[in-house]
């Protein structure tokens, strides 16, 4: 029995009404906020200077932090730059840009060696390539699936979608509409069906059709909900009864505007299932998605796609350079 003591603590706290009422006060806070591109800022800071100094590094810190790169990775990048400045004795501010970009890109490099167009691998026995799409609520899983299906179809591949989000209101309808838009078949058992059973049937159908790829949509789940995370394991297990080794790809979708919690998402989803690709969505907004630099650096999961809009065509293959550039400029 996995509980006992813990639960009691909880009773006790409740019993004793340990905590007082909130104190509410009013405070006027006038913070000026103007967003400025890093480049213009950098230019301003370095006017009349010929060397990278603390002020420049401070600005660098700001641009990295405000891109959601996170404190740890930011410090790491700054250290690298300081080191390089020390080593090469003299780095002019005009060189700084390049140094910076290459340092940041190198953090992404190990995991994203080839920024090439993605092809669907073949599997024995003419089994379909199976992609399971996971992530927390509202990040863009279903939309990304629609976009992926569209892309694969454009490559001349035969695609089958599986509506295994049977929980969120109208989730199945949403995927059906995407399947119609793109013009690919969908397997669905309606709302409240067992997700594993939907996934199972999807693979059977895909196999029977001789499809190249099957993409399974799953319900959004917060990574701290153990039961829901365990459900993924079950879906996976059931799929393997139809296609050994499935899912070949588990795509974790992260919202580009998510802050440091994206780390925890990547970590916890990786613990629960073997995440082997990332998609970062909503990068058409003002958020920079810098958190993927740290994730890439620490988790070694390649970023495969980025979402840049709500339409079918708004999916791009991830390009390291372009991504780093986007952190720095408007």
């Amino acid at each position: 029995m996995p509980f006992g003591r813990e639960l009691f603590f909880f009773y006790i706290m409740a019993l004793f009404g340990l905590f007082g009422k909130d104190k509410k006060k009013k405070l006027d806070q006038g913070l000026e906020k103007t967003k400025e591109s890093f480049l213009s800022k950098l230019t301003r800071t370095v006017v009349g200077k010929s060397k990278v100094d603390d002020e420049v590094l401070d600005d660098l810190e700001e641009v990295l932090i405000t891109s959601d790169v996170g404190v740890k990775t930011t410090l790491k990048i700054i250290e690298r730059i300081e080191e390089r400045v020390g080593r090469e004795k003299y780095v002019s501010t005009s060189e700084l840009q390049n140094v910076l970009r290459s340092e940041i890109a190198s953090l992404l490099e190990e995991n994203n060696t080839s920024d090439v167009e993605y092809d669907i691998p073949k599997h024995p026995d003419n089994n379909p390539h199976v992609i399971m799409v996971v992530g927390v609520n509202g990040v863009g899983k279903t939309t990304t699936i629609g976009k992926l299906a569209h892309q694969f179809k454009g490559m001349g591949k035969q695609v089958v979608l599986g509506a295994a989000d049977t929980f969120r209101a109208a989730a199945v309808d949403q995927l059906i509409i995407w399947s119609e838009r793109v013009g690919v078949p969908i397997v669905q058992q309606g709302m409240e069906a067992d997700p594993a059973s939907v996934a199972f049937e999807t693979l059977e159908v895909a196999k029977a059709k001789g499809a190249d790829v099957a993409i399974i949509d799953t319900a959004g789940r917060l990574h701290n909900k153990v039961n829901l995370m365990n459900e993924l394991t079950k879906i996976k297990r059931v799929m393997q009864k139809v296609v050994p080794g499935a899912p070949h790809e588990i795509l974790l979708v992260l919202d580009g505007s998510t802050g440091q919690n994206a780390f925890e998402q990547a970590k916890q989803f990786s613990l629960a299932t073997e995440i082997n690709a990332l998609a970062i969505t909503k990068l058409d907004g003002t958020a920079k998605g810098g958190v993927v630099i740290g994730i890439s650096d620490q988790m070694k999961i390649p970023v495969k796609y980025i979402g840049v809009g709500e339409q079918m065509n708004d999916l791009q293959s991830f390009n390291r350079r372009a991504f780093v550039d986007s952190l720095f400029g408007e």
Binding site: F3, N137, D173, L222, N227, S257
Partner: protein, 446 residues
């Protein structure tokens, strides 16, 4: 975690020992830690900077001799400051009017549709209103269906028109509908949009101008990072919203966006979303949020949720029993029923500091209580009242009756005994404080 922060502060303050006051020099390191903690919690860069400045001013010259420790003092100052920053006059969502009109706005996927449903449910069940939900998202696939499903779930009417592509027309027609059908509140769900999408921003601003809502809400995902300020500011400039809804707080995000938004647009956070279900909303408590941002866990909110389920009289009765060491399995059973009403145990546990991590690999099924209940139900009334009489043969009988192993029965009895002791100890306020400390430090054997 909170401990880490305090520890870091302690370390940063080592130099301080022997000095009587917090000074410019000895505070520098600590402030760096404060800033870092805030940034880790997704507080906006500039907001964090301003905040550390304020904290510094408040801390300078403070006497540390009287304080328990300078680190704790710093945490306290930060905590108070955060509460101040996020607090303000508590204002309700304004649903007055004939009908009252509430307009949702926000980025894609932030939780507008879900919250529309929750708010309708809240107004219906807690405020005796007769709300009308309005589907003005004409873009997202199945957005209208989604709202209908939610409306059906909570028994609230949903106005939609799949033929009409102009949200202004839909909203106007819905209000007319409400007037003639006696709906006294209209809740308008809108499509998600980016602040830089000029066309979509004019659209929502047109809707707002056309219907003149009593309340305009900005719905934002608690996991949002540094961009929260840009978005909040841009939406505020266009539609001058009245309040903020912070969703998905049932996750483990620190939620620093809450501070940044408050600092930048100075609009109150009115509700928080704590789950996908229609009753998963809560009012906003600055103190809980401060705890959370500083990594102190969401104990308070847990406790309050517990209190909601608690019967004052019953609680007092139990306290007495605990003091007299008479807490028995009947009491335990009745407690179990209460807890079950509060929701998923695992989620509840996750909110207790130090426990989230410890419980991560522990599996708690939604019916985690079943086995326990089975065991207790297999006890005779006498055994429940006097667990001490349960000897080996009784144990065997109970195990058999409940379909559980003897080991499980033993375990439950032992845990029950242990905790009873602990509870007695904790019925003393002073001991309680110590226990809390210990608990934060991580529980033994977990």
């Amino acid at each position: 975690m909170f401990e880490n922060l305090t520890d870091k502060f302690e370390k940063a303050f080592k130099v301080l020992k022997g000095q009587g006051q917090i000074s410019e020099i000895n505070i520098a390191e600590t402030l760096k830690e404060v800033r870092r903690a805030l940034l880790d919690a997704d507080v906006n860069f500039n907001t964090a900077k301003e905040f550390t400045k304020t904290v510094k001013e408040k801390a300078l010259g403070r006497d540390v001799l009287n304080a328990v420790s300078p680190g704790q003092l710093m945490v306290k100052i930060c905590h108070e400051e955060l509460i101040e920053l996020m607090g303000g006059d508590e204002t309700e969502v304004n649903y007055q009017g004939n009908p009252g009109i509430i307009l949702m706005s926000g980025l894609q996927g932030s939780g507008k549709t879900t919250f529309s449903g929750k708010l309708a449910n809240f107004l219906k069940s807690k405020k005796g209103k007769n709300p009308l939900l309005v589907a003005c998202d004409v873009y997202r696939p199945a957005a209208i269906d989604q709202l209908h499903v939610l409306g059906d779930q909570i028994g609230v009417e949903v106005y939609s028109n799949k033929e009409e592509k102009n949200p202004v027309n839909i909203a106007n027609a819905a209000i007319q509908h409400a007037k003639s059908n006696g709906n006294n509140v209209v809740i308008i769900d809108t499509a998600g949009r980016l602040a830089i999408d000029e066309q979509m921003m004019s659209e929502i601003s047109d809707v707002k101008n056309a219907i003149n809502p009593s309340e305009t809400l900005f719905v934002v995902d608690a996991m949002t990072g540094q961009d929260a300020v840009n978005t909040a500011k841009a939406f505020n400039e266009r539609i001058n919203f009245d309040g903020v809804i912070l969703t998905k707080l049932d996750g483990d995000t620190r939620g620093g966006a809450a501070i940044s938004i408050k600092a930048v647009v100075d609009k109150p956070i009115k509700f928080v979303g704590t789950g996908e279900k229609m009753d998963a909303l809560d009012v906003f408590y600055p103190k809980r949020m401060a705890d959370r941002i500083l990594g102190m866990g969401d104990v308070v909110s847990l406790v309050e949720r517990a209190q909601e389920q608690y019967d004052e009289k019953e609680a007092r009765r139990l306290q007495k029993k605990i003091k007299k060491n008479q807490f028995d399995f009947n009491d335990f059973l009745s407690q179990l029923q209460q807890v079950k009403k509060m929701g998923n145990v695992k989620d509840l546990m996750g909110m207790i500091p130090g426990m989230g991590k410890a419980m991560k690999n522990v599996e708690i099924e939604d019916d985690a209580f079943k086995h326990i209940e089975a065991i207790i139900y297999s006890m005779s009334p006498e055994e429940r009242e006097h667990p001490e009489i349960i000897n080996q043969s009784r144990k065997k009988r109970i195990a058999k009756g409940s379909g559980q192993s003897l080991t499980e029965v033993n375990k439950l009895l032992k845990q029950f005994g242990d905790t009873k002791k602990m509870m007695k100890m904790m019925s003393n306020k002073k001991n309680m404080a110590n226990m809390m400390k210990q608990m934060k430090g991580g529980m033994p054997g977990m």
